[in-house]
């Protein structure tokens, strides 16, 4: 059975704690760029927590929304890449073949979610911080575009393990780094092709929406809208 990886973000559970952001940095060898580069907008994050203010004191409202690569089925980034570095993988992910990337940054311009990070310089780790680098993930160099891979190294490793044991992957057997850290279980990762997986169940919720779904990008990330107290308790 082929897999179709998906993620559900329950905005009613998300607390904006940003554990996912740091977990992602640790898992995926994402560099820090320092104050000067950050000041000109070159921070690298594969997942970020957006916040939206509405209203004013004394009744301001804030919405937190983790935004990561939506792994679109009709991805604007793939169509514009002149070297096919951004391409659709067999399992439906928006792949990024670093070797092919020549740094045109067309994909970043095309992405309506602005989830792509570009290596303007070679990343640096002050020794011995580099000892933490995950050997299962490439260290990208200057001129390469990068973005959330749905922790493809974890997917591959789980698939290889399942194959070795001659069995199918089980739902919840592995998850992405962000979902694993998420204390309030706002992030749930899994196989959308498995009708019994938790992610399939949640993705069919009545609260489910797609981010900028009107653009026709067909994201594989589903957001569950926040509810009001009264809604839930009135049925």
């Amino acid at each position: 059975m082929s897999h179709k990886w998906g993620l559900v973000v329950d905005l009613d559970r998300c607390t904006g704690c940003e554990a996912c952001v740091v977990a992602c940095h640790a898992e995926n060898n994402i560099p820090t760029v320092g104050k000067d580069q950050a000041a000109i907008g070159r921070t690298m994050q594969w997942i970020r927590v957006e916040r939206t203010w509405e209203g004013d004191f004394p009744n301001p409202k804030v919405r937190f929304q983790p935004v990561l690569c939506q792994q679109c089925d009709a991805a604007p980034c793939e169509a514009v890449c002149p070297t096919y570095a951004s391409y659709h993988t067999e399992e439906g992910l928006n792949g990024q073949a670093y070797n092919r990337c020549i740094g045109t940054r067309f994909c970043a311009n095309a992405c309506p979610y602005t989830v792509r990070s570009f290596n303007f310089y070679n990343p640096q780790w002050q020794k011995p911080l580099n000892l933490q680098l995950n050997p299962d993930v490439s260290v990208r160099s200057v001129g390469i575009m990068e973005k959330c891979t749905f922790c493809v190294q974890r997917i591959k490793s789980a698939e290889i393990q399942a194959e070795a044991e001659k069995r199918d992957l089980k739902d919840g057997e592995f998850t992405t780094a962000c979902a694993q850290s998420c204390a309030s279980k706002a992030l749930v990762f899994g196989d959308l092709n498995d009708p019994h997986s938790e992610v399939s169940r949640l993705a069919s919720s009545s609260r489910a929406t797609k981010l900028l779904g009107e653009l026709g990008t067909k994201p594989n990330v589903t957001y569950l809208e926040r509810g009001a107290w009264q809604d839930a308790n009135n049925g």
Partner: protein, 201 residues
């Protein structure tokens, strides 16, 4: 007259490069150890020198690296040792262990102890040092390849497919050019995925 233009181009290019090399060395040799009790230095995927970048680009690498010990695969394999005896982990995960001095001395404490090469190994151990084996096969970091031995072995690919016939080698030689064409050809033959993300992530 075309070749003269090219020669000029090459000579000019190489002099710029030599200059760049000298300058960058000078910078690297500058004061880095500002303190004796905290760590200094930076890790970066950038090539340390222009030469190494150049070699990487052209995929230049020694075909038969000089090893600190004149190890003979021939002898060990003739004694019916398995590859996995020393290269532990190769059938379980991505990497193969390169045996360390303790491992070698496990047998050579008693076997062939008068051999000068074995004495060299014993000397390493006495100095509490490991054998500084030179890497034979490796992917350049800029290849962004995540190779995993175990699934290949489970799929019945024999070691010699990629590493040559080790029974005929003393220290390991790079008999097979492991470029992407080589990988893809086999993947196609065996009808396994040639998706980029199979290996590159």
């Amino acid at each position: 007259m075309g070749w003269q233009k090219w020669l000029l181009f090459i000579v000019a290019g190489s002099s710029v490069w030599v200059l760049a090399e000298v300058v960058s060395r000078a910078q690297a040799a500058g004061p880095t150890a500002s303190s004796q009790y905290v760590t200094s230095g930076v890790f970066t995927p950038a090539h340390a020198t222009a030469a190494s970048a150049f070699k990487d680009f052209l995929d230049l690498h020694p075909e038969h690296p000089v090893q600190p010990i004149a190890f003979t695969h021939t002898v060990h394999l003739a004694k019916r040792m398995q590859c996995t005896t020393c290269h532990v982990g190769v059938n379980r995960g991505p990497d193969a262990q390169i045996p360390n001095v303790t491992f070698c001395m496990g047998c050579h404490m008693v076997i062939d102890t008068n051999n000068p090469e074995i004495k060299k190994i014993a000397a390493y151990q006495a100095r509490r040092e490991d054998i500084p084996w030179a890497r034979v096969y490796n992917y350049s970091p800029s290849a962004h390849v995540r190779f995993n031995h175990a699934p290949h072995i489970r799929a019945g690919v024999v070691c010699s497919t990629c590493h040559g016939d080790m029974t005929k080698q003393t220290t390991a030689e790079r008999k097979v050019n492991l470029n992407m064409g080589f990988c893809v050809q086999c993947h196609k033959q065996k009808q396994v995925s040639v998706d980029c993300a199979t290996c590159h992530y």
